[in-house]
């Protein structure tokens, strides 16, 4: 440690190149990889940066707030001898910060001597607690078909112009710890909410702020805002700063934390920009080869650990460029997260809210969060049956578009009716409607009543006897 203290405060000169947010400095032997430096321009103004690459002869520094006004001569780099750390404290709930964790709500800097490295450390798989407690969001498509579990990372895949912000706000507002159908929800304290905005518009940030205020949650929310006109490089820090606070609240203070990150696509573009300037070998669509590891270093900071009763549940939001789910950002995200909720444009055009495309959506942790003792014993089979039936509806629809609805067989006609009712009654609900798990499950059985019994091969005979309402 003594060595680090010794180096702190030293100043180095000798900037040799400035390009975009990148600054290259020579004769910088004392800088450490990934450390933070303070860059002072000729007017004495200070900005912060981070070391991306270092050798005895030079160092590559990424400046968070941009390089405007920096000159080759007259710029000094002050060594801090430490990686990027932010203060963390419970009092940060109810506050608003910029993308680097500095307060921008006019309030004081959080008073604490607890500083945490924004990169965090990987959770030891042996120390994790496997997530099994479902969160009731009051939204049928999520609770019934793609349950969210406490400690899960479940992203919203959306597109420009789709109501992902409303959906995220509704989830945040309605989320409670789930209870078996018919029982009232366990008495649990409310979720703490950590919200990080990367490159979103002012309106979006305001929308969330107002929505939190309306539901009376504002005192439980910490907001980290890097808006569309803020420096892109800062965006690389924003989600990490937010997650660092979330980890503190969850694992040291035992709170249940919901983390909303929006919009991950902007984050990835900032990463691509830096990678590009550094001349790295690109992989797909110009994104760097380490995009997967980089995203994982954030998404994996979710879960529960043995030593704390708290949890981190992540809901990252990303917009798929051109609604393309195979684009590297949604694609790599889907490989890391435990499922995805996909919003669909066709449903939205039909006036259905929330426009969640059932078939590509998935919750991987659902299987252990539902069923007897958690929701209801018929839930797993009911879910599989609804999925299978709705998948068949798509086939019938495409057939009907060729041969006409009148030409369809009797059973296929029933499927068409089921599909319509499913979208109208199950998927569709209002922005303020909060359905409990029992209502959601019962609507599912009501709809299956539109299909003949012989078609229901995914549910057991006993379940048909108990719940089936058709003929």
């Amino acid at each position: 440690m003594s060595e680090l203290v010794d180096r702190g405060g030293q100043e180095v000169v000798g900037v040799s190149r400035i390009e975009g947010p990148i600054l290259v400095i020579e004769n910088a032997g004392n800088l450490g990889y990934d450390e933070v430096v303070e860059v002072i321009d000729s007017t004495g103004h200070m900005r912060r940066g981070r070391i991306l690459e270092v050798s005895e002869k030079m160092a590559v520094i990424q400046i968070f707030s941009g390089t405007t006004g920096l000159s080759i001569d007259g710029t000094k780099v002050r060594i801090t001898g430490s990686t990027l750390k932010i203060p963390v404290a419970e009092e940060m709930l109810g506050r608003v910060f910029d993308g680097l964790g500095t307060p921008i709500d006019g309030g004081p800097v959080p008073l604490t001597n607890h500083f945490a490295d924004i990169n965090g450390q990987p959770i030891n798989p042996t120390s994790r607690v496997y997530p099994r407690d479902y969160i009731q969001t009051g939204i049928s498509v999520i609770d019934g078909m793609n349950s969210l579990v406490m400690g899960q990372k479940l992203p919203l895949f959306s597109g420009a112009g789709l109501p992902h912000d409303q959906l995220a706000a509704q989830i945040v507002r309605q989320a409670t710890l789930g209870a078996p159908a018919g029982e009232s929800a366990k008495h649990a304290e409310d979720f703490a909410i950590v919200f990080a905005a990367m490159g979103v518009k002012h309106d979006v940030a305001n929308y969330f702020k107002n929505s939190f205020a309306e539901s009376g949650a504002l005192a439980r929310v910490a907001m980290f805002l890097n808006l569309a006109d803020d420096p892109p490089v800062e965006r690389l820090i924003t989600p990490r700063a937010a997650l660092t606070l979330a980890e503190y609240l969850a694992f040291e203070k035992g709170m249940h934390v919901l983390v909303v990150l929006t919009d991950m696509t902007n984050y990835c573009e900032a990463l691509r920009q830096i990678s590009n300037i550094r001349g790295e070998v690109p992989s797909r669509k110009g994104y760097p080869g380490y995009l997967y590891s980089d995203l994982a270093s954030m998404y994996e900071r979710t879960g529960r650990v043995k030593t704390s009763k708290g949890s981190i549940t992540q809901i990252p939001i990303l917009t798929m460029p051109n609604d393309d789910i195979t684009h590297p950002v949604p694609d790599l995200t889907g490989y890391i997260t435990e499922g995805q909720i996909v919003l669909g444009r066709t449903l939205y055009q039909h006036g259905i809210y929330p426009p969640i495309s059932i078939l590509p959506s998935l919750s991987r942790l659902m299987k252990d969060g539902i069923g007897e003792g958690q929701t209801r014993e018929d839930h797993p089979h009911l879910m599989a049956q609804l999925y299978a039936a709705y998948a068949h509806v798509q086939d019938v629809r495409s057939l009907a578009s060729v041969i006409g609805e009148e030409e369809l067989g009797e059973v296929d006609q029933q499927y068409l009716a089921f599909g319509k009712a499913f979208e109208g009654k199950y998927i569709s609900q209002s922005f303020t409607e909060n359905r409990n798990i029992e209502q959601t499950l019962n609507i599912g059985w009501d709809l299956l009543g539109l299909l003949p019994k012989e078609e229901l091969t995914r549910v057991s005979l006993a379940e048909i006897d108990k719940y089936y309402k058709g003929m």
Partner: protein
């Protein structure tokens, strides 16, 4: 053991360059910085040493020391491997937890195997025996299901001068001495082996015994031979991990090595919490007792991801050498390939396809060729089967990792997103998948079940591919336009899809099917088809067939017939016979 060999000059993520000794060897294990972070030499140029570091390098600065060990990166082999969970470079995660809490700090130095445990050693070799590498000195009951056979290291041969008497020993206490050409050597139960060097064996044998996984679509339709290699490619959400987990649970391998390579932390935790409670249907002991887990989750250092598959395969070969059948699952090999790409990018190597280094294919080949059914040095038979998951970007199988992998495996289990969307699991597409082991394992099936397995399997495949052709027509004109004979093909294929190919990993009865149940079910469906076919020829319509009560029975029998009550298959056979005979009477 470690002396200073150089000084750090350049740092870029997990790759560093140091200047120093010219005595350092390629692939030598080194320690970097004051914290002694573990690294491996991957390039030498004059006195510049390029090192990949297996831990986070944040805060390291030029001028930091580099220490050499003189040894290649190796794994520790000995009793205590089973039931363990290691990181990519074989550090025991539970001990790291005791040291540093719920989060993994860097610079933790731990021996992979616990030195203080005592193991009951029983010698099986007499003093004075002339031995060569691989021969068994003695045995240790490592877990109730696996007897650990302590072997002479492959590179040692000579005369045994002393063997320890039956008693409990730690793995570092001597248990034998061998007089070799270069002097007398003392052996312990603990041995080391470099992870990048394959362990020797006598000869390779044919892969004529299938690895039975209890998964019907795999065993019956696309079997993997013991000692073979298979790939499971699929986009996200297609069910790679669930399939890998099912195989790890039910495969008839004696030892299972599960490598979570760049995957989710919660999934490793699931295995860790589930396996000690699940009972192996064959041995009757908890599954964990035959399992070694290696976890490099996606947020753990990327260079260790590259090492994790080698760590796993070396442990697999070690148990193979004892004469066991080992199954190794690597989930996912794409993350390993990406780790190669990342390190290669930082070295500024010339990329080939999609940024991957040109040696990607060579590395994949090296890895998959470590699978095999062999006669071991001690004359036993053992095997390592590799099942590698592949995660192609966008689910597009034309990308480099999938394409190169296809050249080195003989069994391709293609996962299909549209099947997964309809919740058809395991979502293995029967038209895109293939197995080149069919003819190799056919004799085994005939002997085990006394039925014409290959004939039935091919007949069922024929029906399914016919269905795929017919469904193209149905999409254009609707099913009613087809003649009833063809609609029967659609009906039987539906039975095969829903009643046979679909298998519910969460259902206690359905999760695992014995080969007898598999072939019994298949026979019933084909029998149904043949009888129905005859009746349709007599003039019956498909709707009459569709309404037979036995159709529902056939679809539900997978969850109704436990593996130990196969007499129910005969009852269903009788029911088909009775219902069909009655129909026949109507149309005569």
């Amino acid at each position: 053991m470690s002396e200073r060999i150089g000084t750090v000059k350049w740092i870029n993520g997990p790759v560093i360059r140091a200047e120093g000794s010219r005595q350092v060897g390629m692939m030598e294990l080194v320690e970097v910085g004051e914290e002694h972070l573990i690294g491996e030499v991957i390039g030498l140029n004059g006195d510049i040493i390029t090192i990949q570091v297996y831990e986070e390098t944040s805060g390291m600065h030029p001028g930091a020391p580099v220490f050499g060990t003189g040894l290649p990166l190796s794994v520790e082999l000995g009793p205590g491997l089973l039931r363990s969970i290691f990181d990519g470079i074989q550090r025991p995660l539970p001990i790291i937890e005791m040291r540093t809490g719920s989060f993994i700090s860097r610079g933790v130095h731990l021996t992979p195997l616990y030195r203080k445990d005592r193991w009951e050693f029983t010698p099986v070799m007499k003093e004075g025996t002339v031995v060569t590498g691989g021969e068994v000195i003695g045995t240790v009951p490592e877990t109730p299901s696996i007897e650990h056979r302590v072997m002479i290291p492959p590179d040692i041969s000579g005369t045994v001068t002393w063997v320890a008497p039956a008693k409990s020993y730690t793995i570092v206490e001597p248990i034998a001495r061998v007089k070799t050409a270069d002097g007398e050597k003392e052996l312990t139960m603990l041995q080391r082996w470099p992870i990048r060097r394959l362990r020797p064996y006598k000869t390779r044998l044919d892969q004529s015994i299938p690895l039975i996984t209890g998964q019907r679509v795999l065993d019956t339709f696309f079997p993997l031979g013991k000692g073979g290699a298979a790939a499971i490619p699929g986009g996200f959400g297609a069910g790679k991990t669930v399939t890998q987990h099912s195989i790890a649970k039910y495969a008839d391998a004696q030892v299972v090595i599960y490598i979570g390579c760049g995957e989710r932390g919660n999934e490793m935790t699931e295995v860790l919490q589930e396996f000690p409670e699940l009972i192996d249907p064959r041995s009757g002991h908890p599954l964990m007792e035959r399992t070694v887990l290696i976890a490099n989750t996606s947020n753990m250092p990327v260079a260790a991801r590259e090492a994790s598959v080698y760590t796993g395969i070396t442990i697999a070969e070690y148990y193979r050498d004892m004469g066991y059948h080992v199954a190794l699952m690597a989930d996912s090999t794409s993350r390993w390939a990406e780790a190669l790409r990342e390190v290669s990018g930082r070295l500024e190597e010339m990329p080939a396809e999609e940024g991957y280094p040109a040696y990607l294919a060579a590395r994949l080949a090296e890895f998959y060729e470590r699978a095999g059914y062999v006669r071991t040095l001690s004359g036993e038979e053992g095997s390592v089967s590799i099942i590698g998951a592949v995660s192609p970007p966008g689910g597009d199988f034309s990308e480099p990792v999938t394409q190169h992998t296809k050249r080195f495996i003989r069994c391709f289990w293609a996962l299909d997103k549209s099947l997964a969307s309809a919740r058809h699991f395991p979502s293995i597409n029967w038209l895109d998948s293939y197995s080149e082991y069919l003819d190799d394992v056919a004799p085994w099936w005939h002997k085990a079940t006394d039925q014409n397995w290959i004939g039935m399997r091919n007949k069922a495949m024929e029906l399914l591919s016919e269905e795929s052709r017919l469904s193209q027509i149905v999409k254009l004109v609707g099913p009613d336009a087809l003649p009833d004979e063809q609609r029967l093909v659609l009906e039987t294929s539906r039975l095969l899809r829903e009643g046979f190919l679909q298998q519910n990993a969460m259902d206690t009865i359905d999760a695992y099917s014995t080969v007898q149940k598999q072939i019994g079910m298949l026979a019933l469906m084909l029998y149904f088809h043949d009888r129905a076919h005859d009746i349709i020829k007599m003039g019956a319509t498909i709707s009459v067939i569709h309404k037979l009560p036995v159709v529902d029975t056939l679809i539900r029998m997978k969850t109704q017939i436990p593996n130990d009550k196969l007499s129910m298959i005969d009852e269903i056979h009788e029911a088909i016979n009775a219902q069909m005979t009655q129909l026949e009477a109507d149309y005569k």
